[in-house]
Every structure is written in structure tokens, then in C-alpha cells.
């Protein structure tokens, strides 16, 4: 790990003023940044500690929406009574993330920005278009079992590794941001992450120095009946091979509203709109669930190692629908 300075600003304004400088990085829980720095995947020169400068609270607004402070710890969100009852997939996704120790440290903002777990990206001994643009992608012809099948490009097939954002994607969340000039904006979650295309090094639409302040999650009947299914290679403390967040509203046996997002398959949490469309207004029966889930792989671009994910996606969605409708 290379050396760096560590600033602990007293105010948010001071942190924002330091944010855009070359080599600067904000640090929240530090669980991803420290790993990346130890492996020289990221080499920050100036760390800016944002502890205490942004909200860490979990609350509900007058319109009933859930407000998650960017510095709220993963464990706090996962175990919050309102989250458990009204946004259960969010709680489940977080409880199935990492380990108790990491959940005590990691924050909402940091989890949204966790970088890919692609082994080539995380090992500076390999070339990688995301880490050093233009150097090539050894993953596509190489070990790609864990990598993406949707939204990928010829330049990068890395997946976004976090669980929580998959649940947020099925709940139409938005992000509240603040930029160095002090301006704030609200960005729909679906517009936050970018696809790799020919610039896999650019992962989000955050401006230089911009900070995530909070996540806003609307209250809805489908979120209330949401579930999270995570398929992984060991029973616990492991990233998803494939995961599915399913939010479902059924009235009188008919699907009124459904939102499905998947993790482990794309560079960002992936909405399955064709599966949703196939369910909308249909009877909530095993047959229509199966029929809709079979559309999961539409548009998938697979490698010889990860073609199995298409079937696994179908099954994860099916399980999610079964759980959410039970």
C-alpha cells in the first residue's frame, strides 16, 4: 500500500472543497477502499474522512418514504424495524451481505460504490480495461464464471458485487447528492450507474467530488411484499453468483405490480422489465411465474464459463416470486 495523507475535516463544506483534488478519495467505513489500496488497485494520495459529516440516520418522511443516511451502517439498516416490515428485501439483502464485522463497518454510501470483485480487476498483475483503460480484458477469454451476462461490452464483463443496490433497484429508489459547489440533486437510482461500453473505468454519473447524502426509498405495496434470493458458492459470507430482488403486489389472485432486479449478472443491478411485463395483470400462479421467469435470459451475452447463469437467473426469479407471493 502506498502512503497517503488523512484529512478529518470539521465540516461538510471543507470535505467537499477537498474532494475534487487529484488523488483524493473519500473514506466512509473503509472496508472496500482499504482492500483496494492494500492491493494497489487504487492508489489514493489524500483520504478525506467523511465520518460525522453526512447523515447516518434511518427515518421515514411525511410521505412515508424511507430515508437512509449515506453513513448509516449496513447492520443498522438491516435490523431496522420499519425496514424489516415495509422493505423486507432490503433487510434480507444486507443480512446476506459480507460478515457481521463488515456489516458493522460498511455504510450505505460505500456499499453503493463498492467496486467489482472481478479477479483480474483486483490483481494488478493482470491487464484490465477498468483499472488501466485500454490495457485489455483478460476476463473475456479467461476465467469468467463469476462475471456478467447482461449489459456487458467487448471491453468489460465485470459485475457490480453489492447486494443492497439490487433490492433498491426493485424499489424505485433515488439518491440525494451534494456537489462541491453546495448544489444538491436527486437522481433516480436507475440513472446512477453507467454501463461499461468503451469506458468501463467510469462506473457512475457522480461528478468529481460529489457525495451521496442519502437514499430515498418510496413506500409501496410491492416493496412491502418484497424478497431477496441470493445464490452463492458457500452457505454464508460470500458474494452472489446470481441474486434476485422481487417486489410483488397481488390482489384477488392477480399481479397488480411487480418489480424484479438481479445481482451478479450485470455491471449494475439489472431490472428485468420483460419478465415484469409478462407478469403484469396475469394470475399469480406457478404457471405464469414459470412462463415469465423463462424470459430472464433475453439479450444475454455469455461466455463458456458463465452460460449457466441464464438458467440460474430463471430459477432465482421463480424462487423470489414464490416467496413474495406466499
Amino acid at each position: 500500500m502506498e502512503g497517503f495523507t488523512l484529512a478529518q475535516p470539521r465540516s461538510l463544506d471543507d470535505a467537499l472543497a477537498a474532494g475534487p483534488q487529484a488523488g483524493a478519495k473519500y473514506i466512509a467505513g473503509g472496508t472496500d477502499l482499504m482492500q483496494l489500496a492494500k492491493d494497489n488497485v487504487e492508489t489514493p494520495h489524500h483520504l478525506i474522512d467523511i465520518e460525522g459529516l453526512l447523515p447516518d440516520t434511518i427515518s421515514t418522511a411525511t410521505d412515508g418514504s424511507l430515508q437512509l443516511g449515506a453513513l448509516a451502517r449496513m447492520v443498522e439498516v438491516a435490523t431496522h424495524a420499519d425496514v424489516r416490515s415495509s422493505w423486507p428485501a432490503l433487510s434480507e439483502a444486507l443480512l446476506l451481505s459480507a460478515s457481521p464485522q463488515i456489516r458493522n463497518m460498511g455504510t450505505v454510501g460505500g456499499n453503493l460504490l463498492q467496486r467489482t470483485r472481478c479477479g483480474y480487476f483486483r490483481d494488478v498483475g493482470f491487464s484490465c480495461n477498468k483499472r488501466s483503460p485500454g490495457s485489455g480484458c483478460p476476463a473475456i477469454p479467461g476465467e469468467s464464471r463469476g462475471l456478467g451476462v447482461l449489459g456487458v461490452s467487448d471491453h468489460c464483463i465485470a459485475t457490480h458485487p453489492s447486494d443492497m443496490p439490487v433490492a433498491l433497484m426493485a424499489m424505485d429508489a433515488s439518491l440525494q447528492l451534494v456537489s462541491p459547489g453546495g448544489g444538491t440533486r436527486l437522481v433516480p437510482f436507475a440513472e446512477f450507474y453507467r454501463l461499461p461500453g468503451s469506458t468501463p473505468e467510469i462506473e457512475t454519473n457522480l461528478l468529481p467530488g460529489e457525495l451521496i447524502v442519502a437514499v430515498v426509498v418510496p413506500r409501496s405495496a410491492s416493496a412491502r411484499r418484497s424478497r431477496y434470493v441470493k445464490v452463492r458458492d458457500r452457505a454464508s459470507f460470500e458474494f452472489a453468483v446470481v441474486s434476485a430482488a422481487v417486489a410483488l403486489e397481488v390482489t384477488d389472485g392477480t399481479v397488480r405490480n411487480v418489480r424484479i432486479a438481479m445481482g451478479g449478472v450485470a455491471p449494475r443491478p439489472w431490472r428485468l422489465s420483460q419478465v415484469e411485463a409478462a407478469l403484469q395483470g396475469r394470475p399469480a400462479t406457478p404457471e405464469s411465474f414459470q412462463e415469465a421467469a423463462s424470459l430472464a435470459g433475453e439479450g444475454a451475452v455469455t461466455t463458456k464459463d458463465n452460460a449457466f447463469k441464464v438458467k440460474l437467473m430463471e430459477r432465482a426469479i421463480l424462487r423470489g416470486l414464490q416467496l413474495a407471493s406466499a
Partner: protein
């Protein structure tokens, strides 16, 4: 920088990049906390900060200032072992012992969190602590015992 470790003030002169784990082991002379992966994946370095279990390898020492750090050395009172330490001894909950300080720190927190309700709950909530010797069965036994449901 000044750290508060096991109730004692420890004054150290360290680079900002120093992890809490290295600060404890290499500079404060507290070698009970172990380094396994140094990447958050094994739990050998588990300590408590303000009563919560964390991995010290991914914690910057400088950022632990002003907080109460508890390590395995801080659990016993004099010669009286903490009940979790005694339970690990009684149940032979280790083989080589390398992961044990981290297991015990994690287990103490697990009981405080109220996660010792069943063996399955104990297992899930100890998933952040890997034991290369595979002493898991006895670790679960020790925690069940220490949590008072033996």
C-alpha cells in the same frame, strides 16, 4: 496519535496508512490479535470498537482515535478469564489456536447482539471467522455454553 486500548491510553507515532491491526501488533506490543488475510475475509483480527466487533485489518489506526478499542488482552480481569475464554478452553474449541482470539472477540459480541438463540443462528453469525483447522463444532458448543443455554 493516541489510541484508547483496553482502557489504557497508548501514544504512538505512526503513518496515516497504518492499520489498527498493525498498530496493535507491531507498535503497541499487543500480539494477541492475529493477522490472517489482512483483507477482511478471515476474522482473525477481530476487535471491538466502542463495543462493536470489527476487523482491525481494514480499520485505519488514526480513525480509531477517540474510540474505545478492546482486544483479546482486555477481556480477562486479572487471572479471571472471561466466560467465553473459559468456555473455549472447556470445549477445546481450537486446534492450532491461530484463529481463536478473533473467534472469541466475535463470539463475545455475538452474545451481546442476542444472536445465540440457536446453533444455526450462532453459525450464521460466526460466518466472518474462518478456522483453517475446522474446529467449528466445538466453537459452536463453547458459544452455546457461554451464552448460558448449555
Amino acid at each position: 496519535m493516541v489510541l484508547q486500548v483496553n482502557g489504557q491510553r497508548v501514544s504512538l507515532s505512526l503513518e496515516p496508512r497504518t492499520s489498527l491491526l498493525d498498530a496493535l501488533r507491531e507498535y503497541a506490543g499487543l500480539t494477541g490479535t492475529k493477522k490472517g488475510c489482512d483483507r477482511g475475509s478471515c476474522g482473525a483480527c477481530t476487535v471491538h470498537i466502542d463495543g462493536r466487533r470489527v476487523v482491525s485489518c481494514l480499520t485505519l489506526a488514526a480513525r480509531a482515535q477517540g474510540k474505545a478499542v478492546t482486544t483479546i488482552e482486555g477481556l480477562a480481569s486479572g487471572d479471571d478469564l472471561h466466560p467465553m475464554q473459559a468456555a473455549f478452553l472447556h470445549h477445546d474449541a481450537y486446534q492450532c489456536g491461530y484463529c481463536t482470539p478473533g473467534q472469541i472477540m466475535s463470539a463475545v459480541a455475538l452474545v451481546q447482539e442476542g444472536h445465540a438463540g440457536s446453533d444455526a443462528e450462532i453459525r450464521e453469525n460466526m460466518s466472518g471467522n474462518i478456522c483453517r483447522c475446522g474446529a467449528y463444532a466445538n466453537i459452536v458448543g463453547a458459544i452455546r455454553d457461554a451464552a448460558g443455554r448449555a
